[in-house]
Symmetry: C2
Subunit: 328 residues, 2 copies
């Protein structure tokens, strides 16, 4: 039986999900929903309708799982509970601090409707979180480290773009390799914010802008740049388009722990992602989680889940026996 | 409620499990079982009995989960079904080819008794397998690579020790860094056995032994060394004890895949272990899996499982809410 998928939101994440669905032998794209004018959106999959967001409720019975490809700031806090009252859903809610509140809201809506929701799917939160959990369960005595990058931070890029005098900006978060190496060696160092990452900014300024002043404004911006060593390179619009068009990202989760009766043995677990495209990778995880959501719902489960609750086998198109024979 | 654990077998793995249990706030060691003379075994935990293997059945009601710390060649194929008919069990069966048969035998015994068994727990099979599964679910188009080491291979060390003229031997499996780097870069190379690992042997020979002949015998041994570039260093008994007493290991699982409508984006997932002690790490995983086994059994589940079937949260002593708040 083919799992019928709806995509809500056709930005980078929605387009990534559309591509990822092509590689899923047991799933098919049933419809794309948008809050923009559907006539102005052209998707890549032939024969699949683009419909107004408001019409999604009319598609009950036609769609098994909805992939919610909106943003975490304003879209998902409203959208996920709303849609989870009608469909099984998967979202990528990534505001770590607000996850408990989002979980509670989605859980209430999904339980009441007998639907299953999986929230905060992606790589951080998501695969990175899973690795933190497994590593802590196996090495209870130890320390966790997360390094991000090298990759584009959309939030920091937006912060630059909002400065008067800036036409465009791109910010790369860069892990400091010397710090990563100390962690890998099992030194369990105490690292400040500044010792873990640097921030590299590429900025297109308005003609005649005071570049020194712009650079100062960026470097001293609280929360975003003030706590980091930040470098700023002014470039042309052409250079921005030519050299900074993709959205690479990645990073590492490392746990270094101790085992043995006297806790003298060092053991290190590292999980590392090197991503050519952050949204394409994140949406590939959403698609795998949609499979798990569908299967858990078929078993009669409902309410809100995270990747912590999904049996690993439920993410794979292979049967349990095939998995044991080929991947164990 | 404290989970009461029994350990069967008090070799490197059993001793590692004993230490790991000290770090588990929700578990306690109830008894150690051995097929040797219990009076000759002195364990580290105060006040815990060492009992004959044959008496294990008398401890039903006193022990919640048995950790089976025997070998995969001859112990576990018999022991796991036998004990799974009386207790919830966790084993580290690591003969990949025979996993389906072992699973079937354990599943039948456990189901009939209403017990829950988790087999093939460790890092390969185990954490490496989980990472193969997750990476394949997320990146269905791609290639998998597993590199082992640098670490001691017990099987290869044993093979050396069985050669006439050899007093002791230690074999390290060493990944070829140039190959690892090609995989990390997303080249998806086709690699022969010889291109992935070298084998480094340290050998204590009998006095007067023909060292050239011994080296030739090792290097040409089919299955073990013939397909590899093997280096042999003859050392003294003192050097063996001084420099080769620990059991380090580790390795990487890497999947390099493609995403996007035209499958042009390279995405790479790497999971890497650097282990000061292979048996201490493996037994730490057994202890976490025992927690999961107990919880699944409490929910009424029975039969044979692998780490593929365990919801990640079930391995952690933290509650689902604590996990979401601290690790997601």
């Amino acid at each position: 039986m083919t799992i019928r998928i709806g995509i809500i939101g056709y930005g980078n994440l929605g387009r990534g999900a559309e591509s990822a669905l092509r590689e899923a032998p047991d799933m098919e794209l049933a419809a794309v929903f948008t809050r923009r004018d559907p006539r102005k959106i052209s998707i890549l999959t032939k024969g699949v309708p683009v419909l107004p967001y408001a019409d999604s409720s009319k598609m009950q019975g036609e769609i098994d799982v909805m992939l919610l490809c909106g943003g975490s700031a304003t879209d998902l806090p409203v959208m996920t509970p709303e849609i989870a009252a009608q469909f099984h859903v998967v979202d990528s809610f990534d505001n770590h601090t607000n996850i408990p509140a989002h979980f509670a809201a989605v859980d209430a809506a999904a339980k009441q409707a007998g639907k299953l929701a999986v929230i905060s799917v992606g790589w951080d939160p998501g695969l990175f979180s899973l690795n933190r959990l497994y590593a802590n369960a196996v090495l209870p005595q130890g320390a966790d480290y997360t390094f991000w990058g090298k990759g584009v931070s959309q939030g920091h890029s937006d912060a630059i773009r909002h400065i008067p005098g800036v036409l465009d900006g791109r910010q790369y978060t860069v892990p400091i390799e010397a710090a990563v190496e100390r962690v890998r060696r099992g030194e369990n160092p105490v690292l400040t914010t500044r010792e873990k990452h640097t921030r590299e900014c590429f900025v297109v300024a308005e003609e005649g802008a005071d570049l020194d002043s712009l650079a100062h404004t960026i470097k001293t911006m609280p929360n975003y740049f003030a706590d980091y060593d930040t470098t700023i390179t002014f470039i042309s619009r052409e250079e921005m388009e030519r050299d900074h068009g993709s959205l690479p990202h990645g990073g590492s989760v490392i746990r270094s722990g101790r085992t043995g009766w006297d806790a003298r043995t060092t053991q290190t677990i590292e999980y590392r992602l090197t991503l050519g495209s952050n949204p394409e990778f994140t949406s590939s995880i959403l698609v795998a989680a949609a499979r798990a959501a569908f299967r858990l719902a078929e078993q009669g489960q409902s309410g809100c889940k995270t990747m912590f609750d999904l049996p690993p086998a439920s993410l794979s198109p292979l049967s349990p026996g095939e998995l044991r024979a080929t991947m164990l």
